[in-house]
């Protein structure tokens, strides 16, 4: 009798396991509520109908959904438009991956942030045009990346600039008083930190999480200080040749890792703790967009440090004695082309940019043309940093850079190629030298360019 009973119990446990796996598989599907049709009866004509009814908003800021910030936004929005019955906010953790898959259906919310893997020539298939780019650019900046054939499909919620967030106290303790103006100077500073405080990681890559490594890519264009850099990049067969933007940026990462100025075991880093480590002076610096400043200040305060210790410096490279920093939009809000309630969706986007105060809360650069720089970029103002906004790609070539990148399987905006760079630099991985690694990237890029350009 006993064995029989045992077997059944085992089978039950197995069945439970399978059920768990199945429900886990199902729950990531599309169970979001259907949106009600626009009660005013009008469809696309936004000028006449008033916002009403119900919309669904997809957001990548799950933290703001959890801490109630979005609840506040929704109630303020409803106070302004009393006919709006409900705004459902869906926070999605794996935003890029999940939303891209959902975009194969018609059911991907009314307002959503445009997924970055959508090529510009695909924008009209999925998003409602918000207006002519030329007309809108008097009101908003940073529209170029999500525009196609003169129409804009998305408005950035906030703008960022790029730099290096660092702990001022750590740098001062190492006797550093001036901002480094060349990569070599930067490396010397890191070495000075390492020498004065051996238990501090002077530079932290956040390798394990991966995405922080993609922040290095945001600096392309600052070395040449050319707003047309992206367009030239797509024409270049050797973008990692000596002296190019990628050569300078990736060399800095390579050299810092090779000289042991980054964390000892990059494979076990973790993002959330790294913020506290920077705040408490266990980390010297991290290369991150300006969006990180607020989070770092918060983490510093939370872990017993001081928000004043957090500083922000531009990439250590000067053209004619001036630092340059790229300025660009974060996620852009767009409207689902299949939405039943485009009027309200549009109202949400406009309200979000003008009235929600989101950009200020995040310490970011407002997308509105007539707005001031946020206070936490005072370091940049003091350093006399000049901002560069990238020029859009010429007509017909909007997708060229993405296409080459995909064909080359380098993944400029995915962490893999810089992870491999870090591995090679610390003597692991394929064991390539810096020049060999950059040459292999050049070769891939040139080959992909040849196939894409036809």
């Amino acid at each position: 009798m006993f064995p029989q009973q045992q077997r059944r119990r085992g089978a039950l446990a197995l069945a439970a396991g399978v059920t768990l796996a199945l429900t886990a598989a199902c729950s990531s599907g599309s169970d979001d509520p259907a949106t009600t049709p626009d009660p005013t009866g009008s469809s696309t004509d936004g000028a006449v109908a008033a916002p009403a009814g119900e919309i669904t908003v997809l957001t990548w800021r799950t933290d703001l959904v959890e801490d109630g910030t979005f609840d506040r936004y929704v109630s303020e929005f409803k106070a302004k438009y009393p006919d709006v019955t409900d705004v459902k906010v869906e926070g999605i953790t794996d935003y890029e991956g999940e939303v891209k898959t959902r975009m194969n259906t018609e059911d991907y919310g009314d307002v959503l942030a445009i997924v970055n893997t959508v090529n510009p020539d695909q924008l009209p298939d999925f998003f409602e045009p918000l207006g002519d780019q030329a007309a809108m650019s008097t009101e908003y900046r940073m529209l170029a990346p999500k525009s196609f054939e003169g129409k804009s499909y998305g408005i950035p919620v906030v703008g960022n600039t790029q730099g290096i967030v660092y702990n001022k106290k750590v740098w001062a303790d190492a006797g550093i008083t001036d901002l480094p103006t060349t990569p070599d100077e930067f490396l010397q500073d890191l070495k000075a930190i390492k020498d004065s405080a051996p238990d501090v990681d002077p530079l932290y890559t956040n390798y394990a999480d991966g995405w922080p490594l993609t922040q290095w890519e945001s600096h392309r264009g600052e070395i040449s200080a050319d707003p047309d850099f992206d367009n030239l990049f797509a024409q270049d067969d050797a973008p990692w040749a000596e002296g190019t933007d990628h050569y300078v940026i990736d060399s800095l990462l390579w050299d810092a890792v090779e000289q042991g100025l980054t964390e000892a075991d990059p494979t076990t880093t973790s993002w959330e703790p790294s913020k506290n480590l920077l705040g408490t002076g266990k980390i010297g610096a991290m290369v991150l967009g300006s969006w990180a400043i607020v989070q770092m200040q918060q983490a510093a305060t939370d872990s017993g440090g001081s928000a004043d210790d957090i500083g922000y410096m531009p990439f250590p490279y000067q053209v004619d004695g001036t630092f340059h920093a790229i300025i660009g939009g974060d996620y852009n809000l767009g409207i689902n082309v299949h939405s039943d309630n485009k009027v309200t969706a549009r109202a949400w986007i406009d309200w979000f940019n003008h009235d929600s105060g989101f950009a200020d809360d995040q310490g970011g650069i407002s997308p509105l043309v007539d707005s001031q720089l946020p206070a936490n970029l005072a370091d940049f103002t003091a350093a006399g940093v000049e901002f560069i906004e990238m020029n859009p790609a010429p007509a017909g070539k909007e997708s060229l850079l993405n296409d080459i990148d995909s064909a080359a399987e380098i993944g400029l905006w995915s962490p893999d190629y810089r992870k491999a760079l870090v591995d090679n630099a610390r003597g692991a991985g394929e064991g390539k030298s810096k020049q060999e690694y950059f040459d292999s990237l050049d070769a891939k890029w040139a080959a992909a360019r040849a196939t894409v350009a036809g």
């Binding site: 446990a13 891209k100 995909s406």
Partner: protein, 319 residues
């Protein structure tokens, strides 16, 4: 009775027989019509799930593998066998199978451990239900959670290093995930920890299906525990051991969860499935990725087929 002709007797008999069979048939039909549908109704739910979540996606995958779809485009351009040609003309795509060898080697350890524990715990052992639970428990934990737990375990100054320090073995401390020579061993041992429970339960079930009197007879003949294992248990659960090896090979060719969560394939821990996922979701090459998935499926089928030929399935007869 004498005047009753044998012919009549026969006719009567056949008639009665016929009537009986007809009655039986009628009765049977009535009873079966209810029965006939019920099993299918029960099957409906699992089949619906299977078709929705397995067969339709697989059919789609075959279709995508002949297109150059990027995962988003409204149109899917037919490119014939181009993707397959690309898969087979790029040796770097296959180099990652070298990593699978680590997991394959680890699966031997895993099967040996599971077999050992299943045998020991099938005899009368103190707290055996507690130990059964302990060994099976890791299999119930979500793979992502296991990955995160083991990142802390392997971290410099993490659990493993502290444990070594407690035994004065500081000299053995390593970058368990950072050292490219060790990373795959660390990941494979995590996989052993996770999947031993599954093998264990399969073995335990099979061992307990061996009738008790066989052991009794063996004990009367003076067989000790090792003899019982060698001549009763091992031959008795041979098909399950064979199945475990098939699962081990298929599993080590398609390792995904643990390296994906812990290292995302960095530092030389890339596996074929991670590479496929990257191809689809990072480089937007759904067509090529689907072709890679089809190739992996074919490889697993071929390996299984070869194994079945080399080690044929035998019926077990202990009596």
């Amino acid at each position: 009775m004498a005047n009753t002709s044998p012919t009549l007797m026969r006719t009567l008999k056949t008639r009665r027989l016929r009537r009986e069979t007809r009655d039986a048939r009628v009765a049977g039909r009535g009873r079966r019509s209810g029965l006939r549908l019920t099993p299918y109704l029960f099957l409906l739910a699992p089949i619906a799930l299977l078709v929705t979540f397995t067969y339709i996606p697989v059919v789609n995958m075959f279709y995508y593998s002949f297109t150059s779809w990027d995962g988003l485009d409204k149109t899917k351009d037919w490119v014939g066998f181009d993707n397959y040609v690309e898969v087979f003309t790029r040796p770097e795509l296959f180099r990652v199978f070298y990593v699978s060898l680590y997991y394959f080697a680890a699966s031997f350890l895993q099967i040996a451990l599971a077999l050992y524990f299943a045998t020991v715990l099938s005899f009368r052992t103190r707290f055996r239900n507690f130990f059964k639970g302990m060994i099976f428990f890791p299999y119930l934990i979500n793979g992502v959670a296991i990955g995160l737990i083991f990142i802390y375990f392997f971290k410099p100054g993490g659990t493993l290093d502290s444990l070594l320090a407690a035994f004065d073995l500081e000299s053995l401390q390593q970058q368990w995930l950072g050292n490219p020579d060790i990373v795959n061993v660390s990941l494979a041992s995590t996989s052993v920890w996770r999947y031993t429970g599954l093998n264990f339960v399969l073995f335990l079930g099979a061992i307990q299906s061996i009738p008790g009197q066989v052991y009794e007879a063996a004990e009367l003949d003076g067989a000790n525990r090792w003899h019982q294992f060698r001549y009763i248990i091992a031959p008795g659960i041979k098909p399950i051991i064979g199945l475990s090896f098939i699962l081990a090979i298929a599993g080590s060719l398609s390792v995904f969860e643990i390296p994906f969560v812990m290292t995302a394939g960095a530092n030389g821990s890339m596996t074929f499935v991670i590479q496929t996922v990257n191809m689809a979701f990072k480089f937007s090459k759904f067509g090529l990725a689907s072709a890679m998935a089809v190739v992996l499926l074919a490889i697993v089928l071929v390996v299984t087929w070869i194994q079945r030929r080399v080690v044929p399935d035998e019926k077990v007869d202990l009596s």
